[in-house]
């Protein structure tokens, strides 16, 4: 007798638990957001001009989305360059110390722009030539 009552109670509870869900209306809608595109920093456009026996690499600072910060370096061998008024000057004296007077070489100047406070950066490269011109060691743009 007790078993039958228990079974009946369980069945009743199960029915009571399922019946409201089975009769509940529902509807749905979908919202698709427009694609959000992340920004992109402007890569510095590097200009080059003779500066004595060396070459001067310069660029116009970007202010998008805000004023970017710039660093410059020589690659292979890696060496930081000092920036003055959005430009760096690479002289034979500098390269002689780095390359040991290895004329006929090329060097790459890399300028990197960074968005302050973030990991975003963008870089541009400029290749310079270190050679003898009229028997004088010279760094030229071409």
């Amino acid at each position: 007798m007790r078993r039958a009552v228990t079974v009946g109670v369980i069945a009743t509870v199960m029915l009571a638990g399922t019946s409201p869900a089975a009769g509940t209306w529902s509807d749905s809608a979908t919202v698709t957001g427009k694609s959000v595109t992340a920004g992109m920093l402007e890569a510095p456009v590097l200009g080059c001009e003779p500066s004595g026996l060396g070459s001067k690499v310069s660029w116009t600072p970007s202010t998008v989305p805000t004023a970017l910060t710039y660093t410059a370096q020589l690659l292979s061998p890696s060496s930081p360059l000092s920036i003055t008024s959005s430009s760096v000057t690479v002289t034979p004296t500098l390269l002689d110390g780095l390359l040991g007077g290895l004329l006929g070489s090329t060097v790459t100047v890399r300028v990197t722009a960074s968005l302050p406070g973030t990991s975003w950066t963008v870089s541009s490269d400029r290749v310079l030539h270190y050679r003898l011109i009229l028997v004088v060691p010279t760094v030229s743009c071409t």
């Binding site: 209306w25 809608a29 979908t30 698709t32 957001g33 427009k34 959000v36 595109t37 968005l115 973030t118």
Partner: protein, 219 residues
């Protein structure tokens, strides 16, 4: 033979006196056809009874009013499927955020509760992981800066976030708010590109998708 002849007397067999005295008051003995008579009377009675069922009667039909079921209809900005073009920030950069309000309408006749799940896709998973999403029911937009870093936020208590969405549906609003028929509910959503967004997230695209489900309020 003499002329006086006595009429022949009917001679009846003598019965015991006691028996004769009792016959004066007792009913006559039942005859065999008595049950037949009773049956006939009964039959007539039944026939008479049947006759009463032929009395006049009438039947009227009552037609009830047409019962029309209600409806449950969820619309977003008046549409079933909506492209949320307003939720955008051109060239979003790390640290910047945008917030917009979405309006849900109960266009049916039944109160319902709303739940929302969300997922996101991106051209680079790094951008998806760096985009922080906040959902605030009944929230409003508060713009704190219109220039870099552009910033908007949602006022109110968030039901989700700030956190990144994945490619799988994540519940960003459970069924906690009831919307009455012809009522509406606003949902404020904020997207913020985290300051730590990786360098490769530049120029990538990010698309969130929200699925809203209205469930009838159980009477």
């Amino acid at each position: 033979m003499s002329g006086r002849h006595a009429a022949p007397r009917r001679v009846e067999p003598r019965r015991p006196a006691r028996r004769r005295a009792a016959s004066r008051t007792a009913p006559r003995p039942t005859r065999p056809w008595t049950p037949v008579v009773v049956a006939l009377v009964g039959a007539l009675g039944l026939v008479g009874g049947l006759g009463t069922q032929a009395y006049w009667n009438d039947v009227e039909t009552v037609s009830g009013a047409t019962v029309t079921s209600g409806s449950l209809d969820l619309l977003v900005e008046g549409q079933q499927s909506y492209t949320w073009t307003a939720l955008d920030l051109a060239n979003i950069a790390p640290g910047e955020s945008t917030a917009k309000v979405l309006t849900l309408n109960n266009a049916g006749t039944t109160p319902f509760t709303v739940s929302i799940t969300a997922s996101a896709t991106a051209s680079d998973v790094a951008l998806r992981d760096a985009m922080r999403v906040t959902v605030v029911p009944a929230g409003t937009v508060n713009q704190t800066s219109a220039v870099y870093p552009r910033a908007q936020s949602c006022t109110g208590t968030a039901s989700f976030g700030p956190a990144a969405l994945t490619s799988s549906a994540t519940t960003v609003l459970s069924q906690s708010v009831t919307v009455d028929p012809w009522g509406s509910l606003t949902i404020c959503v904020r997207l913020q590109l985290d300051l730590s967004a990786a360098n490769e997230t530049q120029s990538d695209t990010y698309t969130p998708t929200f699925t809203l489900t209205a469930t009838q309020v159980t009477p």
